[in-house]
């Protein structure tokens, strides 16, 4: 049997989640390492093969093209888990709670009193002119004053071993089904380790989610529906999975009608009222009468029913204003303003080009920085300093000078790495971390997360469309590891 060894495993230059800088295994990975070394290469590759098959069989696939002949892919699940010890997790939990609490206060304030603008914490134009600020939501008060009930914050760990928030996903964050199904698969792969390591369970996510949704309605039990764009959406597996796990109805826009400002499902026995909609459709597409007129995905009249308080939308429309890149830079100050506390879970250092001191730093150090246009997304309008040419840098300097308000800059951060199976061998690969936060009457965080991994050597792109995979994420209970 060919043995698996870590003798050639290279951790140089990066923070490795499993080994410290002297190549000693970190205590919370020790038992796993022991087990891995017993298994042998062949068996481990077999286990990897089984996980691929398991994913196909349960239909954990996403369409690459928008027609049913399109190619279906799985998001490859690497069998080696990402393990987080209880100390780190407690810290993350505190940090996330603080952040989500403050972000909700911010959104509520922006659509109501706007104190944060009057007190000059955030520049007025930055928010009010943003396309993500929905004027239709001004003056609205969702139940419990909670706007973003479901968040999937993207975290990274840098060279220094410190966790940072990279992005707040406050709209329709996806991936939680992978957290849940990855666990189901890994439980079959390493059954004995779960007990020994005291891995905390993620099983009750769907129950907590259901209870949270139910708590938002005056009617109990509430009729809950998951609103999906349909089977061609790349996250459809997740929509159907969550509906099924919660025992909720899975609906599309065409399954709903609005009568007298109430929302109904079209059933074989007539119309049935819906109380809470967990919508996985973007704000723009929710209601053609209010937002995009060409939307075929939404339901006419839905927004009015929501305004009247006759249906709860989760997340509330309008949350996008707070996960804007420009607003991100102000989050430390926002937390201080609303809570009087220092930020626990830090942002990646961000330079606001609209501020003189920062602007000078950015212009002087552009070759070392990542510059982002605040109103662009998906990697557009971006300059990665260390990988750019002199000419590109000069162009960007011109653009920034012309309209500084439109740009922010951040240092390059090396994402931490986790050992990953690659072509039969084990090599370090970069990862991020997306835990899921639920907010109804109180904030709850399920001890688990989706860890995305860049499977290509050296790559830091973890997106599923560009060679990304995932890992099961084990949060350990309190056993001093």
């Amino acid at each position: 049997m060919s043995k698996l060894g870590f003798s050639k495993y290279d951790t140089k230059g990066y923070y490795d989640e499993m080994f410290d800088e002297h190549n000693n295994v970190r205590p919370h990975y020790a038992l796993f390492k022991e087990r891995l070394e017993q298994i042998g290469k062949k068996k481990l590759n077999f286990l990897q093969h089984s996980t691929d098959r398991a994913q196909l069989s349960i239909g954990m696939t996403f369409n690459v093209y928008n027609d049913n002949q399109g190619i279906e892919r799985i998001l490859p699940l690497d069998v080696i888990p990402r393990i987080i010890n209880s100390k780190d997790w407690d810290f993350l939990e505190r940090g996330l709670k603080q952040r989500i609490y403050a972000l909700n206060l911010l959104i509520d304030d922006l659509y109501n009193e706007q104190r944060v603008i009057k007190d000059k914490i955030i520049p007025k134009e930055l928010v009010l002119s943003s396309t993500t600020y929905l004027k239709q939501c001004i003056g609205l008060k969702p139940p419990e004053n909670v706007w973003c009930h479901i968040t999937g914050t993207d975290l990274i760990r840098g060279d220094d071993g410190q966790f940072y928030v990279l992005e707040d996903n406050l709209r329709c964050p996806s991936g939680v089904s992978y957290m849940l199904e990855n666990r189901e698969i890994l439980k079959r792969t390493f059954p004995e380790l779960f007990e020994k390591l005291n891995v905390r369970t993620v099983y009750d996510y769907s129950h907590v989610l259901r209870d949270m949704l139910d708590s938002l309605s005056p009617n109990h039990p509430a009729t809950i529906a998951v609103l999906s764009p349909g089977i061609n959406n790349s996250a459809y597996f997740e929509h159907s999975y969550l509906a099924q796990q919660m025992g909720a109805e899975l609906v599309e826009g065409r399954d709903l009608v609005v009568r007298n400002d109430f929302v109904y499902m079209i059933t074989t026995k007539g119309l049935q009222r819906v109380d809470v909609i967990y919508r996985r459709i973007d704000d723009d597409y929710l209601d053609p009468l209010v937002f995009r007129k060409d939307s075929m995905l939404g339901t006419p009249g839905l927004f009015r029913a929501y305004q009247k308080g006759n249906v709860v939308l989760v997340n509330a429309p309008g949350t996008g204003v707070a996960d804007d890149k420009a607003v991100y830079a102000y989050i430390p100050r926002i937390i201080k303003y609303f809570l009087g506390e220092d930020i626990i879970l830090p942002n990646v250092q961000t330079f606001i080009c609209d501020e003189e001191k920062d602007l000078k730093y950015v212009l002087d150090n552009i070759k070392n920085l990542v510059v982002k246009q605040t109103d662009a997304s998906g990697g557009y309008g971006m300059l990665i300093g260390p990988k750019s040419t002199k000419k590109e840098q000069t162009e960007f300097i011109k653009k920034i000078k012309k309209n500084p308000r439109n740009y922010i800059a951040q240092p390059m951060i090396n994402l931490s790495r986790v050992p990953t199976l690659s072509g039969g061998a084990i090599e370090g690969r970069h990862v991020d971390l997306r835990p899921y936060v639920l907010y109804g009457k109180e904030i709850k965080i399920i001890p688990g997360a989706l860890t995305r991994v860049a499977l290509k050597q050296g790559s830091i792109v973890v997106n599923s469309s560009q060679g990304g995979g995932s890992k099961d994420t084990w949060v350990l209970g309190n056993n001093n590891l």
Binding site: G59, Y236, E249, T267, T268, K269
Partner: protein, 320 residues
């Protein structure tokens, strides 16, 4: 339940039943070819004709040919009724209603999909003995029925599924029977000859009816076989039995709607009673082929009316 869900589960089951029956269609010919006298050649045209897609076949592939016929019925993306397209559609419907069905049902549909997809990629129609591949598909469908029966609650969803399956099965049994009309005998005198009976019994076998027929009738006769496949009340693939089953499911649904007998129930009931009081001798006298064609047309009408039951919400609003 959502109307769209009722619609999808109806079609999911219809498509699966169609997959199984197309696999059986192939078996008719494989059965026949095994029993043919040395001087008689295999006939593939009758099979394509009975599916109703002969014109499409001609335009796509021209002359009849064994490999092309198997490809057309089994794998052709341009044939909306090919096994490949049907399993694809069944799976898409299943995905759309994933929360309504069990994990086990979904996994079996998914398995079937990958089985056929792989068969397509490996060009199974060119195999020397493609028959085993189609038997595997048939068994996969039967396993699915078993899982469905053993894990799905008898709610309206189940009954909409049953209706879809039974309507499809009645249609396909009528078409299997019709194959015989299109198969050419060497001479008109051959009616009633041993070759004629070989062909009839091949049909019986292809709908798994051989043993049950033998138990009931013993002697093989063309009229006995037609009687069994059209008018038998107990055999689960006979046209009448399928209608009885569909009607029972329809009653369960409307019963839970408050007992109003609706238009689809009336139409289905009429068609069922026509079969119940039919006599096989009369059917033969007026022409078996014409009788079956007529039946298929009426069944289509029933199928169209079923949707009134599914999308009945507008009159519900009116009553409010």
């Amino acid at each position: 339940m959502l109307s769209r869900v009722a619609d999808s589960i109806y079609w999911m089951n219809r498509y699966i039943e169609r997959v199984e029956n197309y696999a059986r269609f192939m078996d008719v010919n494989f059965n026949l070819s095994l029993e043919l006298p040395p001087d008689v050649s295999e006939q593939w045209k009758p099979l394509v004709v009975t599916t109703g897609d002969w014109e499409l076949y001609k335009s796509l592939h021209g002359k009849i040919d064994k490999n092309k016929a198997i490809y057309f019925l089994g794998f052709d993306e341009n044939n909306p009724n090919s096994i490949y397209n049907c399993i694809l559609n069944a799976r898409e419907n299943a995905r759309a209603i994933r929360p309504e069905i069990t994990k086990e049902v979904w996994e079996q549909i998914n398995y079937l999909f990958y089985l056929v997809k792989e068969g397509k990629e490996k060009k199974s129609w060119q195999r020397k003995y493609p028959r085993t591949f189609f038997i595997e598909i048939k068994k996969g469908c039967q396993l699915l029925y078993g899982i469905f029966a053993a894990t799905i609650s008898r709610t309206d969803a189940y009954h909409f599924g049953q209706i879809g399956q039974m309507i499809e099965r009645a249609d396909k049994t009528s078409r299997v029977l019709d194959v015989k009309y299109h198969i050419l005998l060497p001479a008109p005198e051959a009616v009633g000859s041993p070759l004629d009976l070989v062909q009839w019994s091949a049909l019986l076998k292809s709908v798994s009816a051989y043993d049950m027929y033998r138990k009931k009738n013993g002697k093989l006769t063309s009229q006995g076989i037609a009687d069994f496949l059209i008018l038998d009340k107990e055999f689960p693939r006979s046209m009448l039995r399928c209608l009885i089953n569909a009607e029972q499911s329809l009653k369960k649904i409307s019963g839970s709607n408050g007992g109003n007998s609706n238009n689809s129930e009336k139409q289905l009931g009429m068609l069922r009673s026509q079969l119940e009081f039919a006599d096989v001798n009369n059917i033969f006298t007026s022409g078996l082929h014409e009788y079956l064609e007529n039946f298929q047309g009426k069944l289509n009408d029933v199928s169209a009316i079923i949707f009134d039951t599914i999308y009945s919400f507008d009159d519900v609003i009116d009553k409010k």
